[in-house]
């Protein structure tokens, strides 16, 4: 079995096929950008894109995403490691406090901007409300999404 992640194909041995996508990314492949926060789809720390749409990787079994295009935060950067506009906006706004939620926030923002290149505050709130941040970076997240939208 194989997974297509960030435009690369990875062979997945049998021991990992029943695992969640999150566990496999982190523990088998070493792609630790997606985080474990709740394991039940409530916090968004584990967000990745499946065929371009935001998905909670803690809810997906590896065997069920074998034919999907998986994008993780590690796959966002452009040529030569240049940060993706959303990553750059997060750096410019100094968004992270502890930072644990931020890879998930960034992936949800990427998905939002693909669907709605110029979202307003209400659309941002609706799209990212299920990405929890306990540190209180919400205001900067909103600003960073606007900044990324203005740039792309």
């Amino acid at each position: 079995m194989q997974l297509r992640i960030n435009n690369r194909v990875h062979a997945i041995p049998p021991a990992w096929r029943d695992e969640t996508l999150l566990a496999t990314l982190r523990e088998f492949l070493g792609l630790v950008g997606a985080k474990f926060g709740c394991g039940v789809g409530q916090c968004g720390a584990c967000t990745v894109l499946l065929d371009g749409e935001a998905a909670r990787s803690c809810l997906w079994r590896v065997a069920d995403v074998a034919d999907r295009d998986i994008l993780t935060v590690e796959g966002l950067a452009g040529a030569g490691g240049r940060p993706h506009p959303v990553q750059q906006a997060w750096l410019d706004e100094n968004v992270p406090q502890c930072g644990y939620c931020q890879a998930g926030q960034i992936m949800s923002a990427v998905a939002l901007l693909r669907a709605k290149p110029r979202p307003n505050d209400a659309e941002i709130d609706a799209a990212l409300a299920d990405n929890l941040c306990r540190c209180g970076t919400q205001q900067r997240i909103r600003r960073a999404v606007h900044r990324a939208a203005a740039r792309s």
Partner: protein, 682 residues
């Protein structure tokens, strides 16, 4: 290095006997500070003497180091040290990292700079005393201090590079979990029966671990080690553990035991903070109650640790506010020497005073020893609630008499469970001893910063059957919230504007300063007529640990009992600001926490313990609940203090006062819910 290989169970029993390990709290010395900064191959390495928990202290201290060394931002590399890399530093708590570590670091950098300038690039330096006026970082010539700088580790964070404990991967690493009875660790509980054969038959099974060191509080766990995280769940299911538990507790018991009116009816409370003679009988102009429930810290990172034994000892990767405490616990429990235990502190994914004791770290070490492999353990969200400690519930009664526009009498009684002397760390017999001196964490912030005729401020301490301990700001959040609600009612009673009324009572000019600044920023209008459309505005202010000042104005809209905070303003004074952008970030975080205290934070207790499993039962503020926030920084050049827990003291009160302004109802219980508001309105 001496080696010990006799890590048998018997020794563990002795070494691990249940005397608690007490955290040491050394002050930073000039000699220790010299170990934080090194000159290596023409570059500088800053070994961060504080835990990086999201306050971005790495960035702030690097700013100080760069200015004092007189070098550019790219010439200093950040290193998150292990316990063997620097001298023992105390836990990163209480917003004291800038206050207590910036100056020693600057002095060490000044010494190093002088040595390097003199051509000395090897050897160990001795500390030289230097007055603050002789330090470049604080002398007004700074190139980095006083500005926003790129955040250390932010690049790694936005790219998903490994920086947290759970991101650690070791060759041959297995995964561990320690299921425990679904009961508070205050009750004796243990696994009574389980199906070991079914567990062993699961693919990925590595080991089942019974070990006396898996007792936490009175809860004995059963360890599981597996090849993959998913196998842990399957094995736990197959085990089908039946638990033996000796107690039960529900919400009512907690509420009753903490109920302030019941306690006051029984006479005086145990701890007098201020005892001026006032008439406790007779009529009061203001008489209000505020009940605050237990609440979880809810870092988005559930605690995690990786442990690895080899023939030199134990190595660990942890997300802790106190890596030296973790080291000390390992030393004691495994009978090792200090230098045989190497604890690497990694960036912490949110801590909020919750990651101050040793829990998951000991589980990981026990499992790693049993499996003879590196083991990673990360708690589930449910374990965070059931096995972690929480903000203690508290219950407040404040009574006041107002004469001629001034507060004449003030009586604040409250009951709370322990904070600094937490039952998560201290057994009952030891807590009975600490009870002789009280608990300064519980008392924090309880003395109002106002000129008042006569004051009586007293409280009780009650060990509850759920675990309680330090939570962002300790007692200051709930205590100042209660005070600020009462101040608002006193102002009403006096027929005065709440800002003007506070200003007339404030003693400290810095507190008056932030209050004036926030009123100006929010266009506070003393002549405003009461609203009628469900919209309201409130103010509150406070001093944190006698060192930092905040005032907050909140606007709310209340619709059918549902409270929306529509805007927040905050003025904040923590003295000399090293990184204004990050002080703002801390203010924003505190405002969101204050909003959480007001509207979301709470933990249900049922069936023998904390009964939350997921965010559904213990919600935190979401993006759509967080309004625009305006932060005003006041910096008149006083010595730098701290910003990590200041604005929380004013944010909740401002929101509650805005609710009162909007609909005329004084919330008496947190979090404020539509059901409570509608009931009070009826």
């Amino acid at each position: 290095m001496r080696r010990r290989t006799f890590l048998g169970l018997g020794v563990a029993f002795l070494a691990g006997c249940s005397l608690p390990v007490i955290p040491k709290r050394p002050d930073p010395t000039p000699e220790a500070a010299l170990g934080w900064i090194r000159h290596v191959d023409g570059r500088y390495v800053l070994s961060l003497p504080r835990a990086e928990i999201g306050q971005n202290i790495a960035t702030a201290l690097k700013q100080v180091a760069c200015d004092e060394l007189g070098v550019g931002w790219d010439e200093v590399d950040l290193h998150l040290p292990a316990t063997t890399d620097i001298a023992h530093v105390r836990a990163t708590v209480g917003s004291d990292s800038v206050k207590d570590y910036a100056l020693p670091l600057a002095r060490a950098c000044a010494t190093l700079r002088k040595a390097v300038a003199a051509g000395r690039t090897e050897g160990v330096l001795t500390a030289e005393p230097r007055p603050i006026g002789a330090l470049r970082a604080f002398a007004g010539r700074a190139r980095h201090v006083g500005r926003a700088m790129p955040l250390e580790q932010a690049d790694a964070i936005v790219r998903g590079a490994p920086v947290y404990a759970a991101d650690t991967r070791r060759p041959g690493m297995a995964h561990g979990q320690v299921p425990r009875a679904p009961a508070t660790p205050e009750f004796t509980s243990s696994p009574a029966a389980w199906d070991a054969a079914a567990a062993r038959a699961q693919p990925g099974f590595v080991a089942l671990v019974e070990d006396p060191l898996l007792r936490q509080g009175e809860s004995m766990g059963l360890g599981i080690v597996a090849e993959t995280p998913g196998a842990l769940d399957r094995i736990e299911q197959a085990l089908d553990i039946r638990w033996r538990t000796d107690g039960s507790v529900g919400q009512n018991e907690i509420d009753e035991r903490i109920d302030i009116d019941r306690r006051l009816a029984g006479g005086s409370l145990s701890y007098d903070l201020v005892d001026e003679p006032l008439d406790r009988d007779g009529p009061w102009d203001v008489d209000l109650r505020l009940d605050v429930p237990p609440a979880a810290h809810t870092p988005i990172e559930p605690r995690a640790a990786v442990a690895e034994f080899d023939d030199t000892g134990l190595r660990m990767w942890v997300g802790s506010q106190d890596i030296f405490y973790i080291r000390d616990v390992m030393v004691r429990r495994f009978g090792l020497d200090d230098e045989q235990v190497v604890v690497h502190g990694r960036r912490v994914g949110g801590a909020f005073s919750g990651k101050t004791i040793c829990t998951v770290e000991l589980e990981a070490a026990v499992l790693a020893r049993a499996a003879a492999r590196p083991v990673k353990v990360q708690w589930t969200r449910g374990q965070e609630y059931r096995q972690g400690f929480h903000r203690p519930p508290s219950s407040h009664r404040i009574r006041a008499r107002v004469r001629h526009g001034r507060i004449e009498d003030w009586w604040h009684g409250f009951a709370c469970s322990h904070i600094i002397f937490t039952n998560a760390g201290l057994p009952p017999w030891l807590q009975r001893l600490t009870d002789f001196i009280g608990d300064r964490g519980v008392a924090r912030g309880a003395i109002p910063p106002y000129r008042i005729g006569r004051r009586r401020i007293e409280h009780d301490l009650e060990r509850l059957p759920i675990l309680t301990g330090p939570w962002r700001g300790l007692g200051a959040g709930p205590n100042v919230t209660a005070i600020e609600c009462a101040m608002d009612e006193c102002a009403r009673r006096a027929g005065q504007d709440p800002v003007a009324f506070r200003l007339a009572h404030i003693e400290d000019p810095r507190l008056a300063g932030v209050l004036r600044r926030v009123a100006a920023a929010a266009n506070w209008d003393e002549t405003r007529s009461p609203p009628s459309d469900g919209r309201g505005r409130g103010v509150a202010c406070g001093i944190y640990k006698q060192m930092s000042y905040a005032a907050v104005v909140a606007d709310v809209a209340v619709d059918n009992g549902a409270v929306a905070v529509t805007r927040l303003w905050c003025a904040h004074d923590c003295g000399r600001v090293i990184n204004p952008d990050q002080v703002r970030a801390q203010c924003e975080g505190n405002l969101v926490w204050g909003l959480g205290m007001a509207l979301t934070d709470g933990l249900p207790v049922a069936d023998g313990g904390v009964a939350a499993e997921t965010f559904a039962e213990a919600p935190v503020p979401r993006l759509d609940q967080v309004p625009p926030m305006d932060i005003v920084l006041v910096d008149n050049g006083e010595a730098p203090t701290g910003a990590g827990e200041t604005a929380i003291v004013a944010a909740t009160g401002a929101i509650l006062n805005a609710v009162r302004d909007a609909i005329g109802i004084r919330p008496t219980r947190l979090p404020v819910t539509p059901a409570d508001l509608l009931r009070s309105a009826a």
